[in-house]
């Protein structure tokens, strides 16, 4: 039996010489010829010119050398503008409900049961409040942003973005398909890293994996939108605030794309040397977006899943925050130890110790960075509102209250700008880090993907802070 098998393989090897090398081509020719024959018999086009006339015209505009990029930026800015404008009021409503009324009710209930103070503090002031913050800060922008983005995707615009970006990526020594995986990263970096499987060459795939973190993900959009609205929008008259803050968010996203290109170029010239390989990118036809279905799936698939993830990570983070704020050594809390220790360095790069501590606590999910910062600010500066005691949030029922809170924590416009930059350039979340390891099976590349953005973030924030202080 075994001999017989070897014989067949041997026979095939001999026959291959007899048949000659180009039968693969002749086979492909046969396939194309038969396909052509079948189509001749079965397909009739009423009007050759009419077919996809609209698509062709639209593609001429959105993939044009001169108009393609401006259209991209304008579309993105419109999406953010609607998000910024639309999420303010629902945020207030949720906040006064969850952080205000429900919190009071829970507190009252726990007092009436005479629950020990530390348990009450840990669970309600810690875990519950962190969750409530995540929901009120995150839900409204997500519920507006994701459906809008999904509508663009459904319409067929994203492959055009990839088409526009393709030549830039190839000039950077990366694969053109990286434009697609990068777009996926705008949703979720872990998903973007998995999507790099469409890239055949291991070298180009590694570049795509390492640079995926430069795409702002789901968890970071709300941070960008909130901080831009408060600090950048606050610089200009109210009627311009929406447009300017949307522009700022687009600016950060575009900076991410530019850094992704520069880093790809740097990698392909140093540790991952090589030429870019070619590929075919098919532009799908435009399709009228199914609005209702899009609303439904983007709400289920994206908004609720991302929100759920944030809530799941927020609860333990809340416990940690309450604990580090309430466990004292020599009368100073653990949080204060860390914040005071790192503050000089943090100030040097235009941030503060609270932000850096928040980024440590929030490694599992970028979504909880802002709530963590807010809670730590309250704790560290002993700002007391409705509730009392360390680690307790007070009610902030509008953006301006959030702003007051942050300003009480010593924030300036520089802090806001640098937080936006640091949010773009820091380590990927733990899920993404784990995914990178799973895909590369290499500690070296995982470590590079993790630390490269942090180093870049610190350097960029330092430069911005130093230049800022010159003026």
């Amino acid at each position: 039996m075994v001999n017989k098998k070897e014989e067949i393989v041997e026979l095939a090897n001999n026959l291959r010489w007899e048949v000659g090398g180009n039968f693969h081509d002749s086979l492909m020719e046969s396939i194309y010829k038969e396909a052509g024959d079948i189509v001749k018999k079965t397909v009739r086009k009423k009007d050759e010119k009419h077919a996809f006339g609209f698509d062709k015209k639209l593609d001429k505009i959105v993939t044009n050398k001169w108009t393609g990029f401006p259209i991209m930026f304008i579309l993105l800015a419109i999406v953010f503008w609607i998000t910024v404008q639309g999420s303010n009021y629902p945020s207030q409503l949720l906040s006064s409900l969850l952080v205000g009324d429900l919190y009071e009710t829970l507190k009252g209930f726990s007092h009436s049961l005479a629950i020990p103070q530390w348990i009450d503090g840990l669970l309600i002031d810690g875990g519950y409040l962190a969750m409530a913050w995540v929901i009120s800060v995150m839900l409204p922008p997500m519920a507006i942003f994701f459906p809008l983005f999904t509508l663009l995707e459904d319409f067929g615009y994203l492959p055009r973005v990839a088409f526009n970006m393709d030549s830039l990526f190839r000039k950077a020594g990366a694969h053109g398909k990286q434009a697609l995986t990068m777009s996926m990263g705008f949703g979720c970096n872990a998903a973007g890293v998995i999507a790099t499987r469409v890239i055949d060459s291991p070298r180009e795939r590694l570049i795509a994996i390492i640079t995926n973190n430069f795409s702002l993900c789901n968890g970071r959009w709300p941070t960008q939108i909130l901080i831009a609205t408060i600090f950048i929008g606050g610089l200009v008259p109210a009627n311009l605030a929406g447009i300017i803050s949307a522009g700022a968010v687009v600016g950060v996203a575009v900076l991410g794309v530019v850094l992704s290109l520069i880093t790809s170029w740097g990698l392909s010239k140093t540790v991952l040397k090589g030429e870019a390989s070619t590929f075919n990118l098919e532009l799908p036809p435009y399709r009228p977006p199914r609005v209702l279905q899009t609303l439904y799936t983007s709400l289920i698939d994206r908004t609720l899943i991302v929100l759920w993830r944030a809530i799941v990570f927020a609860f333990p983070a809340g416990l940690v925050i309450w604990s580090v704020a309430n466990i004292h050594i020599d009368g100073i809390s653990l949080a204060d130890y860390f914040i005071n220790w790192i503050d000089p360095f943090a100030i040097l790069i235009g941030l503060n110790g609270i932000i850096l501590l928040a980024y440590v606590i929030a490694i599992p999910a970028n979504e909880i960075v802002i709530p963590t910062i807010l809670m730590l600010t309250v704790v560290h500066f002993g700002l007391h509102g409705v509730g009392a005691g360390a680690g307790v949030m007070f009610q902030t029922d509008s953006l301006s209250a959030t702003k007051q809170l942050l300003e009480a924590g010593g924030w300036t416009v520089l802090t806001g700008v640098n937080l936006m930059l640091f949010s773009l350039l820091h380590n990927p979340c733990s899920t993404t880090i784990y995914t990178i390891y799973e895909e590369t099976k290499s500690i070296k590349w995982t470590a590079l993907s993790t630390f490269l953005p942090i180093v870049m973030g610190i350097v960029l924030c330092f430069l911005v802070a130093q230049i800022w202080q010159l003026f």
Binding site: I8, V9, A12, F23, M28, I31, Y32, V43, P284
Partner: protein, 275 residues
């Protein structure tokens, strides 16, 4: 080549051993369906329409990089459906194409549903013809018919079905149009009510024809129940390492259809597969 004729209704032909190896849990399922097709033809949308699942779909090629699975029930049969990555061809060697090809070849799904873009039939036929080389049981889901109509493209469904030798179902999966017909044909092919006579590519080169014939006969002797010896012979000639490995390790033997084994002579006694 068409050595296989289903004579028993309701008997699954998929290879349970290999399906388990490919990561498919076959407990509680009667039939396995593979969903193949070019990128961005709406495979995931068809998948969702069949299963009622709401896997995220997107209007861009290459969205599905890994296999998605789901299940549905129709006509009292339980179906497992596997959404394969979209590919333009089965002849090259990128990871996504290998996933699709290995699944159709080694998993031997009871029905392979090929999803094609009605507006780009000629390009899609490249893959359709290649899939028909590997499998005897397929249904063509001619999707995006609404777009074809909008763009003034008319397709003669009956002739196309006759040319290809398999059922052709026009659908507009985004609007859920044609899905009941698709289910009906899947069921008929799976249970053997509809007998496919898939079109095979004519090899014009006489030398190639001779070589394939020679190899195919040898293969038939060694693996009497292998349904697609000509295709395997062709891959051998091309020096396909996966196929060479499959022959050497005897993995190819497992491709012989399980229910035929019970009829086959005792000399090729195989472990009976329980499903």
């Amino acid at each position: 080549m068409n050595s296989f004729n289903a004579n028993c209704e309701n008997c699954p032909v998929h290879n349970a051993n290999n399906l388990v190896k490919l990561g498919i849990d076959m407990k509680d399922f009667d039939f396995v369906i593979a969903l193949a097709g070019n990128p961005n033809t709406g495979k995931s949308t068809v998948f969702n329409a069949l299963t009622g699942l709401r896997q995220h779909t997107g209007n861009w090629p290459g969205k599905t990089v890994t296999r998605a699975e789901g299940g549905f029930e129709f006509n009292g049969h339980k179906y497992k459906i596997v959404d394969l990555p979209g590919t333009y061809s089965l002849l090259s060697t990128s990871t996504d194409e290998e996933v699709a090809r290995n699944f159709i070849l080694f998993g031997q799904p009871d029905v392979t549903v090929i999803v094609a873009d009605a507006t780009r039939l000629e390009r899609n036929l490249n893959l359709i013809l290649q899939v028909l080389e590997i499998t005897d049981r397929a249904v063509l889901c001619l999707n995006l018919m609404d777009e074809a109509e909008r763009n003034g493209i008319e397709i003669d469904i009956r002739t196309l079905s006759k040319e290809l030798g398999i059922p052709v179902v026009p659908t507009a999966a985004r609007q859920k149009e044609g899905i009941p017909d698709l289910l009906q044909y899947i069921d008929e092919v799976a249970t053997g009510k509809y007998k496919c006579k898939p079109r095979r590519i004519k090899k014009r080169d006489p030398k190639l024809q001779k070589a394939i014939k020679l190899l195919s006969n040898e293969l038939k002797q060694l693996f009497p129940n292998l349904p697609n010896t000509e295709w395997v012979a062709l891959r051998l000639l091309e020096g396909d390492q996966e196929i060479i490995k499959a022959i050497k390790t005897g993995e190819l033997e497992h491709l012989e259809r399980t229910e035929l084994l019970s009829n086959a002579s005792d000399s090729i006694k195989k472990e009976k597969v329980t499903i």
